[in-house]
């Protein structure tokens, strides 16, 4: 499981993709936190996710509540259904 898709664009945008699980969620959290220190407004886009787990879902929740950033979640229908099945209706 790698954070290969966790791409930093160098501006106020962060795109998250690939495998995001407990293995790399801390690193991702630190990276977003670091960006937030620099940029007043941050845009986080989640797309082309391959694997994700509960640790990442929790992080998405915190991002969704964070006012200083905009969160766009573009995931597949199947992944949406998975989230719904596990009861994360509020995230979508």
């Amino acid at each position: 499981m790698s954070a290969k898709g966790n791409e930093n664009k160098g501006d106020g945008n962060i795109r998250i993709s690939g495998d995001i699980t407990i293995i790399n969620v801390k690193k991702l959290h630190q990276e977003i936190d670091r960006k937030l220190q620099v940029h007043n407004k941050l845009k986080v886009t989640v797309e082309n996710l391959l694997t994700f787990d509960l640790a990442f879902i929790q992080l998405l929740h915190t991002l969704k509540r964070k006012r200083s950033l905009t969160l766009n979640i573009n995931i597949s229908k199947e992944q949406e259904n998975t989230l719904k099945r596990f009861g994360f209706h509020g995230l979508l």
Partner: protein, 695 residues
């Protein structure tokens, strides 16, 4: 390696070992559904963690096997030898994949491809596709007359990720029980700035309409019951999800969940709701709705609550550190006791005595933590016996007795190779082939029994087979040929059999892959001796052989009797001390047969002054004789002075003492000087004049 992956590695190693054992049991009882269930569950847990912690190759293999075993547990497939063989091959490969997660090593690549191919053959033969696998899961939606709606609260501990558990798999398993909905509660998730993303904050309210009994629902949590809080309560006997009777939005909101559930449950006709009432509702007057809050879970009947944590996993190196610290403390405490004796002060004496008492208790507690059941080791042999029996084409039964016997983990680790070697010898050279056994009037199946038991402060381990036994004449002839003994040497049975531990002696007519290279038994004895143990053998031609290993319970600290000879101090293990006597030195010096009469019985004795070539002129008028015993043999050891009891932290002796057979170790005394630990086994052997065979 990430700390989570390390955690998974430990967990998975244990799971793989459990899986192997479960498969070996299943092989013997292929129709036992509970065993199939066990295999499935272990596989499922293994798969869950593998996917979560980056072991995709493990996830891939276990996924397919899990589907196969799912069909077996649903009676759609029988447990065949082919399936078991492939699964056992996979077990070996999974262990390799734990250390080569991406399967880069050539040998692992080859094995992976071969196993995958073997699995594919089975999968194609039974026609598993992802769709059928999913269907298998969904078919577990058991809806019978006894079905009911259950409210399940599943609240994982914050640390659950660290244990390699993925709570989503648990939710998935619960939903697979019937017609259900999960409602994730996210209110406990801290804000972005405060969250530790590696902790778990989510919990769930689940509503499941199923015919599965409560106990079986709770089985879903069987592997994580100490990592979560759960509550399972029956709500009503009808499916609230049928015909879209409900507003799911009201369940999604934790604030309206309980009141809406009460309302829904109360809609049922009275006769249907009679059995909805659970313990909690009896007390509260409500329906069986369990409140789930952010702070506490009301678990209803306390008896229903899953038990609290009863054990924790501790890394073995931490235990080693603890034992080292305790050893240092014991040495320091000895120094304090000595100082207290030399500087009389009432308060100092009280402190010193209390510290001594506490140190002893701490030592015993720390020591008990390092003891593990020897079954950990014995279980590994089941697989060995299975594989070797197939390889040698011999039917073999392995009987394990006393697996609960506990031994220092360091000893158990060091015992693996010697025991494996002895066992291989028994399987290969000891047990006869089927036709030989039948013509000898024996059962066609050979039996090897491995047993362990306590005897005093020692643990005895026996490996016994009912094979052809060791031919003493062959051993003798081989030993003469190798120049180990002279042609005319007279040896008794025990001495002849003991020759099997001599370097380079193997009487096996054929060198096989399993054993018989003529190296090994001498190394086995060396390894056992290094553990302060002893190895003995007995055998009867036509009936079988038994090899016995006798080991101390611990390697690090012993209770000893501190004695002195001239200026040197010695420690005698207290466990072997029977009695102390005082005699005139003259009585011993005039003795010609090395026997002394103590309490009306003649006892052989060893005068350490003589053995260690000390000055006879400095001998005190009164000599102390300490009688030590072993397996009914008694020997007196003569010293100048008995100082008293002493907790000895054992240290290996340096190279200058390596060839001194009466010394097995050393210890540092409170004043910083060294005391040598006497090897009473050797002293008894030499004094009695023959090796002790306790078989």
């Amino acid at each position: 390696m990430d700390s989570y992956q390390e955690h998974y590695l430990i967990e998975a190693t244990e799971l793989i070992s459990n899986l192997e054992n479960a498969l070996l049991v299943l092989e013997k009882t292929p129709d036992d559904k509970s065993q199939v269930e066990e295999v499935f569950r272990i596989m499922h847990t293994l798969k869950g963690g593998a996917g979560m912690f980056g072991f995709q190759k493990i996830e891939e293999l276990t996924h397919y096997l899990e589907n196969i075993y799912d069909l077996i547990r649903d009676n759609k497939l029988a447990t065949t030898a082919q399936i078991l063989d492939v699964t056992l091959s996979t077990v070996d490969h999974l262990t390799a994949l734990l250390y080569d997660a991406e399967c880069k090593e050539e040998i692992n690549k080859e094995n992976h491809a071969r196993i995958k191919n073997e699995i594919d053959i089975i999968v194609k033969a039974i026609g598993i596709t992802e769709a059928t696998a999913e269907r298998t899961h969904s078919q577990k939606e058991v809806v019978s007359n006894a079905s009911a709606l259950y409210h399940i609260v599943f609240k994982p501990n914050k640390e659950i990720f660290a244990n390699g558990t993925n709570p989503l798999f648990i939710v998935e398993d619960l939903l697979a029980l019937g017609d259900g909905r999960a409602f994730a509660r996210t209110t406990r998730i801290p804000p972005f700035d405060k969250i530790n993303p590696e902790k778990c904050f989510v919990y769930w309210d689940l509503l499941i309409f199923t015919g599965t009994p409560v106990e079986e629902i709770k089985d879903v949590f069987i592997f994580i019951e100490d990592q979560c809080e759960i509550a399972v309560n029956k709500v009503c006997a009808f499916n609230i999800f049928e015909n879209n009777q409900i507003d799911l939005k009201l369940f999604e909101n934790p604030k309206t969940f309980n009141s809406y559930l009460v309302e829904i449950a109360s809609r049922a006709p009275k006769k249907k709701t009679e059995d909805h009432i659970n313990k909690k509702s009896e007390l509260s007057g409500n329906t069986g709705v369990v409140a789930s809050t952010d702070d506490d879970l009301d678990m209803g009947n306390p008896k229903e609550r899953i038990k609290n944590i009863s054990s924790i996993r501790v890394a073995s190196d931490k235990l080693d550190d603890l034992m080292n610290l305790v050893s240092e403390l014991v040495t320091t405490q000895a120094g304090l006791s000595l100082y207290s004796e030399q500087n009389p002060d009432r308060r100092l004496e009280v402190f010193s005595e209390n510290i001594e008492k506490l140190t002893r208790q701490l030592r015993d507690t720390a020591f008990s933590m390092t003891l593990i059941p020897i079954n950990h080791l014995f279980q590994r042999f089941k697989r060995l016996v299975r594989d070797v029996s197939l390889q040698l084409n011999k039917e073999i039964d392995l009987v394990i007795k006393g697996g609960e016997t506990e031994l220092d983990k360091t000893i158990i680790e060091a015992l693996a190779d010697p025991l494996m070697h002895i066992l291989r010898n028994s399987l290969d050279h000891g047990l006869e082939h089927e036709d030989e056994r039948i013509s000898a009037g024996k059962n066609k199946t050979g039996t090897v029994t491995i047993s362990a038991y306590y005897s005093g402060a020692n643990v005895h381990i026996q490996i016994k087979d009912d094979g052809k036994g060791i031919d003493q004449e062959k051993i003798r002839a081989k030993a003469i040929e190798k120049g180990l003994i002279g042609k005319h040497d007279k040896l008794n049975k025990a001495e002849i059999l003991d020759l099997i531990f001599a370097p380079g002696l193997s009487t096996a007519a054929q060198i096989t892959d399993v054993s018989g290279r003529g190296v090994g038994m001498d190394v086995v004895r060396k390894n056992v001796t290094n553990l302060r143990g002893e190895i003995l053998v007995d055998s009867e031609v036509g009936k079988g052989s038994v090899v016995e290993i006798i080991l101390p319970l611990t390697l690090s600290i012993i209770d000893g009797l501190l004695v002195q000879l001239e200026h040197t101090k010695y420690v005698i293990p207290l466990e072997v001390v029977e009695k102390c006597h005082e005699l005139n030195a003259g009585e011993l010096q005039e003795n010609i047969n090395q026997l002394v009469t103590l309490d009306g019985k003649q006892v052989p004795f060893l005068d350490l002054r003589e053995a260690f070539d000390a000055d006879k002129n400095t001998a005190p008028e009164l000599t102390q004789i300490i009688v030590v015993h072993k397996n009914h043999k008694r020997v007196g050891i003569c010293v100048d002075t008995i100082i008293g009891e002493y907790q000895a932290v054992l240290k290996p002796v340096g190279k200058y003492y390596r060839n001194q057979e009466f010394i097995s170790g050393a210890t540092i005394l409170g004043d910083g000087t060294i005391a040598l630990v006497l090897d009473t086994n050797k002293i008894i052997e030499q004094s009695i004049g023959q090796k002790i065979v306790a078989l």
